[in-house]
Symmetry: C2
Subunit: 300 residues, 2 copies
Protein backbone atom coordinates (compact mmCIF):
# COMPACT_ATOMS: atom_id res chain seq x y z
CA UNK A 1 0.00 0.00 0.00
CA UNK A 2 2.10 2.90 -1.10
CA UNK A 3 1.73 6.41 0.24
CA UNK A 4 1.99 9.61 -1.73
CA UNK A 5 2.88 12.92 -0.09
CA UNK A 6 2.73 16.33 -1.70
CA UNK A 7 4.49 19.09 0.19
CA UNK A 8 7.75 20.89 0.68
CA UNK A 9 11.36 19.78 0.84
CA UNK A 10 13.30 22.66 2.33
CA UNK A 11 16.40 23.94 4.03
CA UNK A 12 15.64 25.32 7.48
CA UNK A 13 17.57 27.56 9.81
CA UNK A 14 16.27 27.13 13.31
CA UNK A 15 17.01 28.64 16.69
CA UNK A 16 15.56 27.30 19.93
CA UNK A 17 16.55 27.97 23.55
CA UNK A 18 18.67 24.81 23.23
CA UNK A 19 20.71 25.59 20.14
CA UNK A 20 20.92 26.89 16.61
CA UNK A 21 21.29 25.13 13.25
CA UNK A 22 21.75 26.54 9.72
CA UNK A 23 20.47 25.06 6.44
CA UNK A 24 19.33 21.75 7.84
CA UNK A 25 16.97 19.38 6.06
CA UNK A 26 13.34 20.38 6.55
CA UNK A 27 9.97 20.69 4.83
CA UNK A 28 6.61 19.02 5.37
CA UNK A 29 7.17 16.22 2.82
CA UNK A 30 10.56 15.47 4.38
CA UNK A 31 9.25 14.96 7.91
CA UNK A 32 6.18 13.12 6.67
CA UNK A 33 8.04 10.71 4.42
CA UNK A 34 10.79 9.80 6.84
CA UNK A 35 8.21 9.07 9.56
CA UNK A 36 6.01 7.06 7.18
CA UNK A 37 9.02 5.14 5.81
CA UNK A 38 9.16 3.14 9.05
CA UNK A 39 5.85 1.56 8.01
CA UNK A 40 5.51 1.60 4.19
CA UNK A 41 6.86 2.70 0.86
CA UNK A 42 6.39 6.48 0.47
CA UNK A 43 6.71 8.63 -2.63
CA UNK A 44 7.37 12.37 -2.52
CA UNK A 45 5.98 14.93 -4.94
CA UNK A 46 7.86 18.19 -4.38
CA UNK A 47 10.50 20.39 -5.93
CA UNK A 48 13.95 21.53 -4.84
CA UNK A 49 16.50 23.90 -6.36
CA UNK A 50 19.80 23.10 -8.02
CA UNK A 51 21.58 23.86 -4.74
CA UNK A 52 19.85 21.03 -2.86
CA UNK A 53 22.59 18.92 -1.26
CA UNK A 54 23.13 15.52 -2.89
CA UNK A 55 23.53 13.89 0.50
CA UNK A 56 19.86 14.54 1.27
CA UNK A 57 18.83 12.85 -1.98
CA UNK A 58 20.94 9.92 -0.89
CA UNK A 59 19.26 9.99 2.50
CA UNK A 60 15.80 9.63 0.89
CA UNK A 61 17.06 6.87 -1.42
CA UNK A 62 18.62 4.95 1.45
CA UNK A 63 15.31 4.89 3.26
CA UNK A 64 13.52 3.58 0.21
CA UNK A 65 11.59 6.84 -0.18
CA UNK A 66 10.51 7.30 -3.79
CA UNK A 67 11.83 10.52 -5.36
CA UNK A 68 10.52 10.05 -8.88
CA UNK A 69 8.16 12.98 -8.19
CA UNK A 70 10.86 15.14 -6.57
CA UNK A 71 11.85 17.51 -9.35
CA UNK A 72 14.92 19.74 -9.46
CA UNK A 73 13.98 23.22 -10.72
CA UNK A 74 16.32 25.98 -11.90
CA UNK A 75 17.00 28.22 -8.92
CA UNK A 76 17.33 27.82 -5.17
CA UNK A 77 15.64 25.47 -2.71
CA UNK A 78 12.82 26.73 -0.44
CA UNK A 79 14.30 28.18 2.74
CA UNK A 80 12.63 28.84 6.10
CA UNK A 81 14.21 30.57 9.07
CA UNK A 82 12.52 30.52 12.45
CA UNK A 83 12.94 30.85 16.19
CA UNK A 84 11.22 29.28 19.18
CA UNK A 85 11.22 30.81 22.64
CA UNK A 86 10.70 28.84 25.85
CA UNK A 87 7.07 28.43 24.85
CA UNK A 88 8.00 25.84 22.25
CA UNK A 89 4.43 25.74 20.96
CA UNK A 90 4.82 28.84 18.80
CA UNK A 91 7.22 29.21 15.86
CA UNK A 92 8.31 32.76 15.11
CA UNK A 93 9.13 33.01 11.42
CA UNK A 94 12.15 35.20 10.73
CA UNK A 95 12.12 34.73 6.96
CA UNK A 96 10.55 32.58 4.25
CA UNK A 97 12.18 32.35 0.81
CA UNK A 98 9.89 30.28 -1.38
CA UNK A 99 12.43 30.28 -4.24
CA UNK A 100 11.63 27.34 -6.59
CA UNK A 101 8.63 26.47 -4.44
CA UNK A 102 6.88 29.69 -5.55
CA UNK A 103 6.00 28.22 -8.94
CA UNK A 104 5.50 24.68 -7.69
CA UNK A 105 2.72 22.91 -9.61
CA UNK A 106 2.46 19.39 -8.25
CA UNK A 107 2.79 16.84 -11.02
CA UNK A 108 2.08 13.27 -10.00
CA UNK A 109 4.11 10.88 -12.19
CA UNK A 110 1.89 8.32 -13.93
CA UNK A 111 3.06 5.25 -11.92
CA UNK A 112 2.13 7.01 -8.66
CA UNK A 113 -1.41 7.92 -9.68
CA UNK A 114 -2.86 4.76 -8.20
CA UNK A 115 -1.39 5.47 -4.74
CA UNK A 116 -3.86 4.34 -2.11
CA UNK A 117 -2.90 6.73 0.66
CA UNK A 118 -2.45 10.40 -0.11
CA UNK A 119 -1.27 13.15 2.21
CA UNK A 120 -1.66 16.74 1.08
CA UNK A 121 0.72 18.69 3.27
CA UNK A 122 0.03 22.35 3.96
CA UNK A 123 0.15 24.17 0.61
CA UNK A 124 -2.35 26.27 -1.37
CA UNK A 125 -5.70 24.40 -1.40
CA UNK A 126 -5.90 25.00 -5.15
CA UNK A 127 -2.73 22.93 -5.60
CA UNK A 128 -3.96 20.33 -3.13
CA UNK A 129 -7.12 20.01 -5.21
CA UNK A 130 -5.10 19.63 -8.41
CA UNK A 131 -3.37 16.60 -6.88
CA UNK A 132 -6.72 14.92 -6.24
CA UNK A 133 -7.58 15.47 -9.90
CA UNK A 134 -4.44 13.54 -10.87
CA UNK A 135 -4.70 10.52 -8.58
CA UNK A 136 -7.12 7.72 -9.38
CA UNK A 137 -9.10 6.33 -6.50
CA UNK A 138 -7.17 6.60 -3.22
CA UNK A 139 -8.45 4.72 -0.18
CA UNK A 140 -7.67 7.55 2.18
CA UNK A 141 -6.84 11.22 1.67
CA UNK A 142 -5.62 13.34 4.57
CA UNK A 143 -4.92 17.02 4.31
CA UNK A 144 -3.21 19.67 6.42
CA UNK A 145 -3.95 23.39 6.22
CA UNK A 146 -3.27 26.63 8.08
CA UNK A 147 -4.56 30.06 9.08
CA UNK A 148 -3.27 31.74 5.90
CA UNK A 149 -5.42 29.58 3.59
CA UNK A 150 -8.45 29.78 5.89
CA UNK A 151 -8.22 33.54 5.67
CA UNK A 152 -7.27 33.97 2.00
CA UNK A 153 -8.54 30.90 0.14
CA UNK A 154 -11.56 29.88 2.12
CA UNK A 155 -13.76 28.92 -0.85
CA UNK A 156 -10.99 26.75 -2.32
CA UNK A 157 -10.47 25.11 1.04
CA UNK A 158 -14.19 24.41 1.40
CA UNK A 159 -14.29 22.83 -2.06
CA UNK A 160 -11.34 20.63 -1.08
CA UNK A 161 -12.93 19.54 2.21
CA UNK A 162 -15.66 17.72 0.35
CA UNK A 163 -13.04 15.54 -1.38
CA UNK A 164 -10.91 14.45 1.57
CA UNK A 165 -11.27 12.01 4.45
CA UNK A 166 -9.30 13.61 7.27
CA UNK A 167 -8.45 17.27 7.84
CA UNK A 168 -5.60 18.07 10.22
CA UNK A 169 -5.23 21.49 11.78
CA UNK A 170 -4.38 23.08 15.10
CA UNK A 171 -6.86 24.31 17.70
CA UNK A 172 -6.58 28.00 16.79
CA UNK A 173 -7.19 27.15 13.12
CA UNK A 174 -10.22 24.99 13.94
CA UNK A 175 -11.65 27.90 15.89
CA UNK A 176 -10.80 30.32 13.07
CA UNK A 177 -12.44 28.21 10.37
CA UNK A 178 -15.59 27.56 12.39
CA UNK A 179 -16.02 30.73 14.42
CA UNK A 180 -16.65 28.40 17.40
CA UNK A 181 -14.48 28.58 20.50
CA UNK A 182 -15.61 25.14 21.66
CA UNK A 183 -13.60 22.45 19.86
CA UNK A 184 -16.38 19.83 19.76
CA UNK A 185 -18.62 22.33 17.99
CA UNK A 186 -15.77 23.56 15.77
CA UNK A 187 -15.00 20.02 14.62
CA UNK A 188 -18.63 19.15 13.89
CA UNK A 189 -18.91 22.35 11.85
CA UNK A 190 -15.86 21.39 9.78
CA UNK A 191 -17.23 17.86 9.26
CA UNK A 192 -20.39 19.42 7.80
CA UNK A 193 -18.23 20.46 4.80
CA UNK A 194 -17.56 16.87 3.85
CA UNK A 195 -14.52 15.28 5.52
CA UNK A 196 -15.18 12.11 7.49
CA UNK A 197 -12.97 13.26 10.33
CA UNK A 198 -11.02 16.16 11.79
CA UNK A 199 -7.84 15.89 13.81
CA UNK A 200 -7.07 18.87 16.00
CA UNK A 201 -3.41 19.14 16.94
CA UNK A 202 -2.66 20.71 20.34
CA UNK A 203 1.13 20.43 20.49
CA UNK A 204 2.31 19.31 23.92
CA UNK A 205 -1.34 18.67 24.86
CA UNK A 206 -1.87 15.97 22.27
CA UNK A 207 -4.56 15.60 19.65
CA UNK A 208 -8.32 15.36 19.42
CA UNK A 209 -9.93 13.17 16.76
CA UNK A 210 -13.52 13.84 15.71
CA UNK A 211 -15.72 11.87 13.37
CA UNK A 212 -19.45 12.36 13.01
CA UNK A 213 -20.88 11.88 16.50
CA UNK A 214 -17.72 10.37 18.03
CA UNK A 215 -14.38 11.52 19.35
CA UNK A 216 -11.05 10.34 20.71
CA UNK A 217 -8.78 12.23 23.08
CA UNK A 218 -5.05 11.45 22.97
CA UNK A 219 -2.51 13.18 25.18
CA UNK A 220 0.99 13.80 23.88
CA UNK A 221 3.87 11.57 24.97
CA UNK A 222 5.63 13.37 27.84
CA UNK A 223 9.29 14.14 27.21
CA UNK A 224 12.12 15.20 29.45
CA UNK A 225 13.75 17.31 26.77
CA UNK A 226 12.40 18.94 23.65
CA UNK A 227 15.01 20.48 21.40
CA UNK A 228 13.14 21.60 18.31
CA UNK A 229 9.40 21.24 17.62
CA UNK A 230 9.78 21.90 13.86
CA UNK A 231 8.10 19.19 11.82
CA UNK A 232 6.16 17.62 14.70
CA UNK A 233 2.80 17.98 12.90
CA UNK A 234 4.02 16.50 9.61
CA UNK A 235 5.82 13.72 11.45
CA UNK A 236 2.57 12.97 13.27
CA UNK A 237 0.77 12.73 9.92
CA UNK A 238 3.52 10.49 8.53
CA UNK A 239 3.36 8.07 11.45
CA UNK A 240 -0.43 8.01 11.32
CA UNK A 241 -0.69 7.45 7.56
CA UNK A 242 2.18 4.96 7.68
CA UNK A 243 0.42 2.87 10.29
CA UNK A 244 -2.93 3.09 8.46
CA UNK A 245 -1.39 1.97 5.19
CA UNK A 246 -0.42 -1.30 6.88
CA UNK A 247 -3.73 -1.72 8.65
CA UNK A 248 -6.24 -4.25 7.33
CA UNK A 249 -9.22 -2.06 8.15
CA UNK A 250 -9.66 1.70 8.14
CA UNK A 251 -12.15 1.80 11.02
CA UNK A 252 -11.99 4.06 14.07
CA UNK A 253 -10.09 1.49 16.10
CA UNK A 254 -7.29 1.49 13.50
CA UNK A 255 -7.34 5.28 13.30
CA UNK A 256 -6.97 5.58 17.08
CA UNK A 257 -3.94 3.31 17.06
CA UNK A 258 -2.56 5.24 14.10
CA UNK A 259 -2.96 8.50 16.03
CA UNK A 260 -0.89 7.09 18.88
CA UNK A 261 1.80 5.96 16.42
CA UNK A 262 1.73 9.45 14.91
CA UNK A 263 2.20 10.96 18.37
CA UNK A 264 5.08 8.60 19.09
CA UNK A 265 6.85 9.49 15.85
CA UNK A 266 6.40 13.20 16.62
CA UNK A 267 7.81 12.66 20.11
CA UNK A 268 11.05 11.44 18.53
CA UNK A 269 11.26 14.29 16.01
CA UNK A 270 11.22 17.01 18.67
CA UNK A 271 14.07 15.41 20.60
CA UNK A 272 16.64 16.78 18.15
CA UNK A 273 16.97 19.27 15.29
CA UNK A 274 15.77 18.42 11.77
CA UNK A 275 15.09 14.71 11.22
CA UNK A 276 18.19 13.70 13.18
CA UNK A 277 16.38 11.74 15.85
CA UNK A 278 14.23 9.90 13.30
CA UNK A 279 17.40 8.76 11.57
CA UNK A 280 18.71 7.22 14.80
CA UNK A 281 15.72 5.17 15.88
CA UNK A 282 14.71 1.61 15.07
CA UNK A 283 11.36 -0.17 14.83
CA UNK A 284 12.07 -1.49 18.33
CA UNK A 285 12.35 2.05 19.74
CA UNK A 286 8.96 2.84 18.25
CA UNK A 287 7.26 -0.24 19.66
CA UNK A 288 8.88 0.33 23.07
CA UNK A 289 7.56 3.85 23.19
CA UNK A 290 4.12 2.64 22.08
CA UNK A 291 4.08 0.18 25.00
CA UNK A 292 5.18 2.90 27.38
CA UNK A 293 2.47 5.22 26.04
CA UNK A 294 -0.14 2.56 26.85
CA UNK A 295 1.32 2.15 30.31
CA UNK A 296 1.24 5.85 31.22
CA UNK A 297 -2.33 6.39 29.97
CA UNK A 298 -3.99 3.23 31.30
CA UNK A 299 -6.62 3.29 34.00
CA UNK A 300 -9.09 0.71 35.32
CA UNK B 1 -13.50 6.07 55.93
CA UNK B 2 -14.33 9.67 56.64
CA UNK B 3 -12.68 12.58 54.91
CA UNK B 4 -11.67 15.85 56.48
CA UNK B 5 -11.27 19.03 54.45
CA UNK B 6 -9.80 22.30 55.66
CA UNK B 7 -10.43 25.28 53.41
CA UNK B 8 -12.79 28.12 52.65
CA UNK B 9 -16.55 28.43 52.51
CA UNK B 10 -17.28 31.63 50.65
CA UNK B 11 -19.70 33.79 48.74
CA UNK B 12 -18.54 34.35 45.17
CA UNK B 13 -19.55 36.88 42.54
CA UNK B 14 -18.56 35.57 39.15
CA UNK B 15 -18.75 36.84 35.61
CA UNK B 16 -17.97 34.68 32.58
CA UNK B 17 -18.72 35.24 28.88
CA UNK B 18 -21.86 33.18 29.52
CA UNK B 19 -23.41 35.03 32.45
CA UNK B 20 -23.03 36.71 35.79
CA UNK B 21 -23.97 35.62 39.32
CA UNK B 22 -23.79 37.51 42.63
CA UNK B 23 -23.08 36.06 46.09
CA UNK B 24 -23.30 32.44 45.12
CA UNK B 25 -22.00 29.57 47.24
CA UNK B 26 -18.26 29.06 46.71
CA UNK B 27 -14.99 28.28 48.48
CA UNK B 28 -12.55 25.40 48.23
CA UNK B 29 -14.06 23.35 51.08
CA UNK B 30 -17.52 23.74 49.53
CA UNK B 31 -16.57 22.36 46.11
CA UNK B 32 -14.40 19.66 47.64
CA UNK B 33 -16.98 18.43 50.12
CA UNK B 34 -19.92 18.33 47.73
CA UNK B 35 -17.86 16.37 45.18
CA UNK B 36 -16.53 13.98 47.84
CA UNK B 37 -20.01 13.51 49.34
CA UNK B 38 -20.97 11.34 46.36
CA UNK B 39 -18.49 8.77 47.66
CA UNK B 40 -18.07 9.12 51.45
CA UNK B 41 -18.84 11.04 54.59
CA UNK B 42 -16.97 14.37 54.55
CA UNK B 43 -16.40 16.85 57.37
CA UNK B 44 -15.58 20.50 56.83
CA UNK B 45 -13.29 22.64 58.96
CA UNK B 46 -13.80 26.27 57.97
CA UNK B 47 -15.38 29.47 59.17
CA UNK B 48 -18.16 31.70 57.88
CA UNK B 49 -19.60 35.03 59.04
CA UNK B 50 -22.93 35.73 60.71
CA UNK B 51 -24.35 36.70 57.30
CA UNK B 52 -23.85 33.23 55.82
CA UNK B 53 -27.22 32.14 54.41
CA UNK B 54 -28.96 29.43 56.41
CA UNK B 55 -30.02 27.67 53.21
CA UNK B 56 -26.41 26.78 52.49
CA UNK B 57 -26.02 25.23 55.93
CA UNK B 58 -29.12 23.20 55.13
CA UNK B 59 -27.60 22.24 51.80
CA UNK B 60 -24.49 20.79 53.52
CA UNK B 61 -26.66 18.99 56.09
CA UNK B 62 -28.90 17.49 53.44
CA UNK B 63 -25.88 15.97 51.73
CA UNK B 64 -24.66 14.46 54.98
CA UNK B 65 -21.63 16.77 55.04
CA UNK B 66 -20.39 17.19 58.60
CA UNK B 67 -20.35 20.82 59.75
CA UNK B 68 -19.24 20.32 63.33
CA UNK B 69 -15.99 22.05 62.35
CA UNK B 70 -17.69 24.87 60.43
CA UNK B 71 -17.66 27.75 62.88
CA UNK B 72 -19.63 30.98 62.65
CA UNK B 73 -17.42 33.95 63.53
CA UNK B 74 -18.50 37.53 64.30
CA UNK B 75 -18.38 39.49 61.05
CA UNK B 76 -18.91 38.79 57.38
CA UNK B 77 -18.27 35.70 55.25
CA UNK B 78 -15.23 35.53 52.95
CA UNK B 79 -16.13 37.03 49.55
CA UNK B 80 -14.39 36.62 46.20
CA UNK B 81 -15.27 38.45 43.02
CA UNK B 82 -13.79 37.36 39.70
CA UNK B 83 -14.14 37.41 35.96
CA UNK B 84 -13.20 34.95 33.22
CA UNK B 85 -12.70 35.95 29.61
CA UNK B 86 -13.02 33.57 26.66
CA UNK B 87 -9.80 31.94 27.78
CA UNK B 88 -11.59 30.22 30.65
CA UNK B 89 -8.30 28.93 32.03
CA UNK B 90 -7.43 32.18 33.82
CA UNK B 91 -9.44 33.77 36.63
CA UNK B 92 -9.10 37.53 36.92
CA UNK B 93 -9.68 38.50 40.53
CA UNK B 94 -11.64 41.73 40.88
CA UNK B 95 -11.72 41.73 44.68
CA UNK B 96 -11.02 39.49 47.64
CA UNK B 97 -12.53 40.29 51.03
CA UNK B 98 -11.17 37.79 53.51
CA UNK B 99 -13.46 39.09 56.29
CA UNK B 100 -13.78 36.37 58.99
CA UNK B 101 -11.37 34.18 57.04
CA UNK B 102 -8.52 36.61 57.81
CA UNK B 103 -8.19 35.32 61.37
CA UNK B 104 -9.08 31.72 60.56
CA UNK B 105 -7.16 29.28 62.73
CA UNK B 106 -8.27 25.79 61.81
CA UNK B 107 -9.49 23.89 64.84
CA UNK B 108 -10.18 20.22 64.26
CA UNK B 109 -12.93 19.07 66.67
CA UNK B 110 -11.81 16.08 68.73
CA UNK B 111 -14.10 13.46 67.08
CA UNK B 112 -12.64 14.35 63.67
CA UNK B 113 -9.00 13.95 64.66
CA UNK B 114 -8.89 10.33 63.61
CA UNK B 115 -10.03 11.14 60.05
CA UNK B 116 -8.25 8.85 57.64
CA UNK B 117 -8.28 11.09 54.58
CA UNK B 118 -7.29 14.72 54.91
CA UNK B 119 -7.40 17.41 52.26
CA UNK B 120 -5.65 20.68 52.98
CA UNK B 121 -7.17 23.12 50.50
CA UNK B 122 -5.17 26.12 49.40
CA UNK B 123 -4.51 28.24 52.52
CA UNK B 124 -1.37 29.49 54.28
CA UNK B 125 1.01 26.49 54.61
CA UNK B 126 1.52 27.42 58.28
CA UNK B 127 -2.18 26.76 58.89
CA UNK B 128 -2.08 23.61 56.78
CA UNK B 129 0.77 22.38 58.96
CA UNK B 130 -1.19 23.17 62.13
CA UNK B 131 -3.96 20.86 60.94
CA UNK B 132 -1.52 17.98 60.57
CA UNK B 133 -0.43 18.59 64.17
CA UNK B 134 -4.04 18.12 65.26
CA UNK B 135 -4.99 14.98 63.35
CA UNK B 136 -3.79 11.58 64.51
CA UNK B 137 -2.53 9.22 61.85
CA UNK B 138 -4.29 9.81 58.54
CA UNK B 139 -3.89 7.23 55.78
CA UNK B 140 -3.60 9.86 53.09
CA UNK B 141 -2.96 13.59 53.16
CA UNK B 142 -3.35 15.67 49.99
CA UNK B 143 -2.60 19.34 49.81
CA UNK B 144 -3.22 22.17 47.36
CA UNK B 145 -1.14 25.33 47.14
CA UNK B 146 -0.58 28.33 44.89
CA UNK B 147 1.90 30.90 43.51
CA UNK B 148 1.39 33.30 46.45
CA UNK B 149 2.62 30.78 49.04
CA UNK B 150 5.45 29.54 46.81
CA UNK B 151 6.66 33.13 46.60
CA UNK B 152 6.02 34.29 50.14
CA UNK B 153 6.08 31.22 52.41
CA UNK B 154 8.44 28.91 50.63
CA UNK B 155 10.16 27.56 53.74
CA UNK B 156 6.82 26.77 55.38
CA UNK B 157 5.65 25.06 52.23
CA UNK B 158 8.84 22.98 52.05
CA UNK B 159 8.40 21.91 55.67
CA UNK B 160 4.82 20.87 54.88
CA UNK B 161 5.80 18.89 51.77
CA UNK B 162 7.69 16.40 53.92
CA UNK B 163 4.49 15.60 55.83
CA UNK B 164 2.03 15.05 52.97
CA UNK B 165 1.38 12.31 50.42
CA UNK B 166 0.11 14.21 47.38
CA UNK B 167 0.69 17.82 46.35
CA UNK B 168 -1.70 19.36 43.83
CA UNK B 169 -0.77 22.46 41.86
CA UNK B 170 -1.04 23.84 38.35
CA UNK B 171 1.68 23.72 35.69
CA UNK B 172 2.82 27.33 36.17
CA UNK B 173 3.14 26.75 39.92
CA UNK B 174 5.12 23.52 39.43
CA UNK B 175 7.52 25.44 37.18
CA UNK B 176 7.69 28.32 39.68
CA UNK B 177 8.46 26.06 42.65
CA UNK B 178 11.10 24.04 40.80
CA UNK B 179 12.64 26.55 38.42
CA UNK B 180 12.30 23.83 35.76
CA UNK B 181 10.28 24.44 32.60
CA UNK B 182 9.99 20.72 31.88
CA UNK B 183 7.17 19.21 33.95
CA UNK B 184 8.75 15.77 34.41
CA UNK B 185 11.81 17.44 35.94
CA UNK B 186 9.66 19.90 37.91
CA UNK B 187 7.64 17.07 39.45
CA UNK B 188 10.69 15.00 40.37
CA UNK B 189 12.20 18.09 42.03
CA UNK B 190 9.06 18.58 44.13
CA UNK B 191 9.02 14.89 45.08
CA UNK B 192 12.56 15.30 46.43
CA UNK B 193 11.03 17.43 49.24
CA UNK B 194 9.06 14.49 50.58
CA UNK B 195 5.62 13.99 49.04
CA UNK B 196 4.98 10.57 47.47
CA UNK B 197 3.32 12.14 44.46
CA UNK B 198 2.57 15.37 42.63
CA UNK B 199 -0.53 16.08 40.58
CA UNK B 200 -0.15 18.86 38.04
CA UNK B 201 -3.47 20.37 36.96
CA UNK B 202 -3.62 21.70 33.41
CA UNK B 203 -7.25 22.85 33.20
CA UNK B 204 -8.84 21.87 29.89
CA UNK B 205 -5.73 19.80 29.11
CA UNK B 206 -6.20 17.42 32.01
CA UNK B 207 -3.79 16.36 34.73
CA UNK B 208 -0.39 14.75 35.09
CA UNK B 209 0.34 12.46 38.00
CA UNK B 210 3.91 11.83 39.05
CA UNK B 211 5.28 9.47 41.66
CA UNK B 212 8.91 8.54 42.06
CA UNK B 213 9.98 7.17 38.68
CA UNK B 214 6.46 6.79 37.25
CA UNK B 215 3.76 8.95 35.74
CA UNK B 216 0.21 8.96 34.45
CA UNK B 217 -1.24 11.29 31.83
CA UNK B 218 -4.98 11.98 31.94
CA UNK B 219 -6.72 14.27 29.47
CA UNK B 220 -9.70 16.31 30.62
CA UNK B 221 -13.22 15.22 29.73
CA UNK B 222 -14.25 17.21 26.62
CA UNK B 223 -17.32 19.37 27.08
CA UNK B 224 -19.60 21.16 24.66
CA UNK B 225 -20.23 24.03 27.02
CA UNK B 226 -18.30 25.37 29.95
CA UNK B 227 -20.08 28.04 31.94
CA UNK B 228 -17.86 28.73 34.91
CA UNK B 229 -14.53 27.06 35.74
CA UNK B 230 -14.54 28.25 39.38
CA UNK B 231 -13.99 25.37 41.77
CA UNK B 232 -12.84 22.85 39.16
CA UNK B 233 -9.57 22.11 40.98
CA UNK B 234 -11.19 21.61 44.39
CA UNK B 235 -13.95 19.51 42.84
CA UNK B 236 -11.25 17.39 41.21
CA UNK B 237 -9.62 16.88 44.60
CA UNK B 238 -12.99 16.03 46.17
CA UNK B 239 -13.80 13.41 43.56
CA UNK B 240 -10.32 11.93 43.80
CA UNK B 241 -10.21 11.76 47.61
CA UNK B 242 -13.81 10.54 47.69
CA UNK B 243 -13.02 7.65 45.39
CA UNK B 244 -9.79 6.80 47.25
CA UNK B 245 -11.57 6.74 50.60
CA UNK B 246 -13.74 3.90 49.27
CA UNK B 247 -10.86 2.05 47.66
CA UNK B 248 -9.46 -1.07 49.32
CA UNK B 249 -5.92 -0.26 48.32
CA UNK B 250 -4.07 3.00 47.90
CA UNK B 251 -1.79 1.84 45.11
CA UNK B 252 -1.15 3.62 41.81
CA UNK B 253 -3.91 1.74 40.04
CA UNK B 254 -6.45 3.10 42.55
CA UNK B 255 -4.97 6.59 42.31
CA UNK B 256 -5.28 6.56 38.50
CA UNK B 257 -8.94 5.61 38.73
CA UNK B 258 -9.44 8.25 41.41
CA UNK B 259 -7.88 10.87 39.12
CA UNK B 260 -10.38 10.03 36.40
CA UNK B 261 -13.24 10.29 38.91
CA UNK B 262 -11.84 13.65 40.02
CA UNK B 263 -11.77 14.82 36.38
CA UNK B 264 -15.34 13.64 35.86
CA UNK B 265 -16.59 15.50 38.94
CA UNK B 266 -14.78 18.66 37.77
CA UNK B 267 -16.36 18.28 34.32
CA UNK B 268 -19.78 18.57 35.95
CA UNK B 269 -18.85 21.57 38.11
CA UNK B 270 -17.83 23.73 35.16
CA UNK B 271 -21.12 23.12 33.36
CA UNK B 272 -22.93 25.65 35.56
CA UNK B 273 -22.21 28.39 38.10
CA UNK B 274 -21.34 27.56 41.71
CA UNK B 275 -22.13 23.97 42.72
CA UNK B 276 -25.43 23.98 40.81
CA UNK B 277 -24.55 21.18 38.44
CA UNK B 278 -23.19 18.98 41.22
CA UNK B 279 -26.52 19.33 43.00
CA UNK B 280 -28.39 18.04 39.96
CA UNK B 281 -26.42 14.89 39.19
CA UNK B 282 -26.81 11.33 40.44
CA UNK B 283 -24.38 8.46 40.97
CA UNK B 284 -25.62 7.11 37.63
CA UNK B 285 -24.57 10.30 35.82
CA UNK B 286 -21.09 9.92 37.29
CA UNK B 287 -20.73 6.28 36.27
CA UNK B 288 -22.08 7.01 32.79
CA UNK B 289 -19.52 9.74 32.29
CA UNK B 290 -16.78 7.46 33.62
CA UNK B 291 -17.75 4.83 31.01
CA UNK B 292 -17.77 7.48 28.31
CA UNK B 293 -14.37 8.73 29.44
CA UNK B 294 -12.97 5.21 29.01
CA UNK B 295 -14.55 4.98 25.58
CA UNK B 296 -13.09 8.25 24.26
CA UNK B 297 -9.57 7.53 25.53
CA UNK B 298 -9.28 3.86 24.60
CA UNK B 299 -6.86 2.59 21.99
CA UNK B 300 -5.56 -0.84 21.04
Amino acid sequence: MSILVIGSVALDSVETPFGKREEILGGSATYFSIAASFFSKVNIVATVGEDFPKRYITLFRNRNIGIEGLSVSPGKTFRWKGRYDYDLNTANTISTHLNVFKDFKPHVPRPLRDSEFVFLANIDPVLQYSVLEQVKRPKLVACDSMNFWIQNKRKDLERLLDKIDILLLNDAEARQFSGESNLIKAAQFIISFGPKAVIIKRGEHGVLYFSKGSHFVAPAYLLESIYDPTGAGDTFAGGMMGFLSKSKKLNESAIRKAIIYGSIMASFTVEDFSVNRLLEISAKDISNRYSHFRKITKFG
